[in-house]
Amino acid sequence: MAALNLWLLWRLGVFFAALAPLLFWSWQVANNAAGPEPGNYLLLNIGLGGLWMLLLTLSLTPLTKLTRWKGFALIRRQLGLWTLAYATLHLLCYVLFILGLNWALLGSELVKRPYIIVGMLALIGLAVLGATSNRWSMKRLGKRWKPLHKLSYLILGLVLLHFFWVVRADLQEWAMYAAIAALIMATRLPPIARTLPKLRYRLSRR
C-alpha cells in the first residue's frame, strides 16, 4: 500500500512539474512581465515547451532500458498527453493572439504556409495518439497499437521541420534540439537498443 502511494506521488509530482511552466508564463503575462507582445510570448514559449514534452516522452523508453526503473514507464502516457496539451494550447495561442480569431485568415494560412501545414499535421498526429492512448484502444488495436504509436518519431521530425522553417537568422537553438532528437532516435536503432540493457548490467556491476 505504501509503495502504491509512492507511485501516485511520483505521478502527481510529474503532473505538477509539467503544469508549472504554463502557470509561470501566465503569471508573467498577468504581471506585465512578458514584454509588449504577450500573445507571442505565450505562443513561442508553449511551442518550445511542447517540443520539450515530446523529447521527454520519447526519452522514457531508452531510460527504462538503461535503468529498468519502473517510474519512467509509469509517466509515459501522462507526458504524451502533456505534449498534446501543449501543442493544442500552442495552436490556440496562434488563433487567438496572432490571428485574432480570424478564421478566414487561418484557412488561407493553412493552405499557403508550409510551416503551418507541417505544424498542423504534427498536431493531428498527436491528437490521434492521444485518442488511442487509453486501455480500451490498446485492447482494440492489439498488435497494431505499437506501430501506430511509433508515429511519435515521425511527429518529432515534423515538429523540428516546423521549428526550422520559423528560424530567420541563427540556427544554434534549433541545432541543439535537433541534436537531442537525433540522440533519442538513435537509441531506438536495433543495434543500439540491444546494447542499452547490457550497458545497464555493466554499470550496475561496477
Partner: protein, 338 residues
C-alpha cells in the same frame, strides 16, 4: 498622409512649460549662472516633458548639447490617436539586432557590451569629400530633428517611435557625390568581442550587416540618420550611436550601429537578400499586397498589444508614407522588386 512641418514660431501643447519647471524657475536661473544654456536643462526634460519617465542615458556632452537644440516634433503622425508612441521600455526592450542574439529580448540583455564612445564613421566611394569622421564632427553641421515614425517590422509587428537625428540627404550633400554615385551602401560594426551574435557559429548571417538605398531614396526628406530617441541618445540595443531610419521600408532596412557609408555605382547586396533572396529583396518597401513567403503582410500587430486585444491593423502601402515616396517607384513592378 499629411505631414505637418512645424513653423519655428508654432506653439503646441507640448511646448507649454511643465508646472514643476515653471515653479522651479528661480532655481533654474540660479543654475544658469554657472552652466551653459544647453546643459542646464539636463536629463530628459525638454521643450516637451513627455519623456520625463524615460531613463536618462549616458550621452557625451556634445550629444546632449545637440539634443537640447533639437527641432522638436518636426514630423508627427497625422493621426496621433491611432499612432500612439510606444512606451520606451517596449521600444528599447523588444527588437531585432542579430549582432546581439536572435531573440527579441537579447539586444537589451547583451548590447551593454557595445562601446559607442568614441565612434567614427567612414564616408567613401564615389564622393569628393570623403574621409573618416568622428561622430561629433559628422553630426555637427546639422540641426537635430525629432520625427515620430511608424516602424513596420517584416515580421508583421509595428511600433511608433520618436527618433532624433539628421536628414541623410544633408550628409550626402556634404559628401559631394560624383556623377557615378547611384546607390548608398551602409555597413554595421564588426567586432565579435563586443557583439556576441557575431560569435555564434550557427549564424546564417555573413557579417558585416549591409544595407543599401537607391540615391533618390537616400535623398528623400523622410530618410533619417538617427542618433537618439525619446528625447535622449539611442540605447545600444537600438543601434547606437548612429542608425538609419527609413519609415516606408521594413525595419531591417534601417541598419544599426553604422561605421561606413559608401556612395557606389552598383546596387549593393543587402544582408537579408544575400541570406534568403526569395524572401527579402533590395527594396523591402512595406507592401500589404506582397506577402512574405512564410507569412502574410496584409496586417500587422501594433505593439504593445495585450492578449485579447491583438491590436491587429491593416498594413498601409509604403507604411502610410505613399504621398512622400510613391512617385519614386512609378513604373517599377513592386511585386517583382519586393
Amino acid at each position: 498622409m499629411l505631414i505637418k512641418i512645424a513653423k519655428p514660431s508654432d506653439l503646441r501643447e507640448s511646448d507649454v512649460t511643465p508646472e514643476s519647471i515653471y515653479l522651479s524657475r528661480r532655481r533654474f536661473m540660479g543654475g544658469m549662472v554657472g552652466l551653459g544654456a544647453g546643459l542646464a536643462l539636463s536629463g530628459n526634460v525638454h521643450a516637451n516633458a513627455d519623456y520625463s519617465d524615460v531613463p536618462e542615458g549616458d550621452a557625451p556632452a556634445w550629444l546632449k548639447e545637440k539634443i537640447s537644440d533639437t527641432q522638436w516634433r518636426a514630423i508627427t503622425p497625422s493621426n496621433p490617436d491611432k499612432d500612439k508612441i510606444a512606451p520606451f521600455d517596449d521600444a528599447s526592450g523588444y527588437n531585432n539586432f542579430y549582432e546581439f542574439g536572435a531573440d527579441k529580448t537579447d539586444p537589451a540583455r547583451h548590447a551593454g557590451s557595445l562601446k559607442t564612445q568614441p565612434w567614427s564613421v567612414v564616408v567613401d566611394g564615389e564622393v569628393n569629400n570623403g574621409g573618416r569622421f568622428a561622430l561629433e564632427d559628422f553630426a555637427k553641421p546639422s540641426q537635430f530633428e525629432e520625427r515620430i515614425y511608424r516602424l513596420r517590422c517584416v515580421e508583421a509587428w509595428s511600433m511608433v517611435i520618436p527618433w532624433l537625428g539628421i536628414p541623410l540627404a544633408e550628409v550626402i550633400k556634404r559628401a559631394d557625390p560624383t556623377s557615378k554615385a547611384k546607390y548608398v551602401r551602409f555597413e554595421t560594426l564588426v567586432d565579435p568581442e563586443q557583439m556576441p551574435g557575431q560569435r555564434s557559429s550557427f549564424s546564417l548571417i555573413d557579417w558585416p550587416y549591409v544595407e543599401g538605398l537607391r540615391l533618390d531614396e537616400a535623398m528623400n526628406p523622410l530618410t533619417l540618420l538617427a542618433m537618439g530617441m525619446y528625447g535622449r541618445e539611442l540605447p545600444n540595443q537600438n543601434g547606437a550611436p548612429l542608425r538609419l531610419v527609413v519609415p516606408w521600408k521594413y525595419g531591417f532596412k534601417s541598419i544599426k550601429s553604422i561605421v561606413r557609408i559608401s556612395l557606389v555605382e552598383e546596387q549593393p547586396v543587402n544582408t537579408w537578400q544575400l541570406l534568403a533572396p526569395n524572401e527579402y529583396g533590395f527594396y523591402a518597401n512595406v507592401n500589404p499586397q506582397v506577402d512574405h513567403p512564410r507569412w502574410s503582410q496584409a496586417t500587422e500587430r501594433r505593439l504593445p498589444n495585450s492578449l485579447f486585444r491583438p491590436n491587429t491593423i491593416d498594413t498601409q502601402m509604403f507604411n502610410g508614407y505613399a504621398d512622400e515616396v510613391a512617385e519614386m517607384y512609378a513604373g517599377l513592378d513592386l511585386k517583382a522588386n519586393y
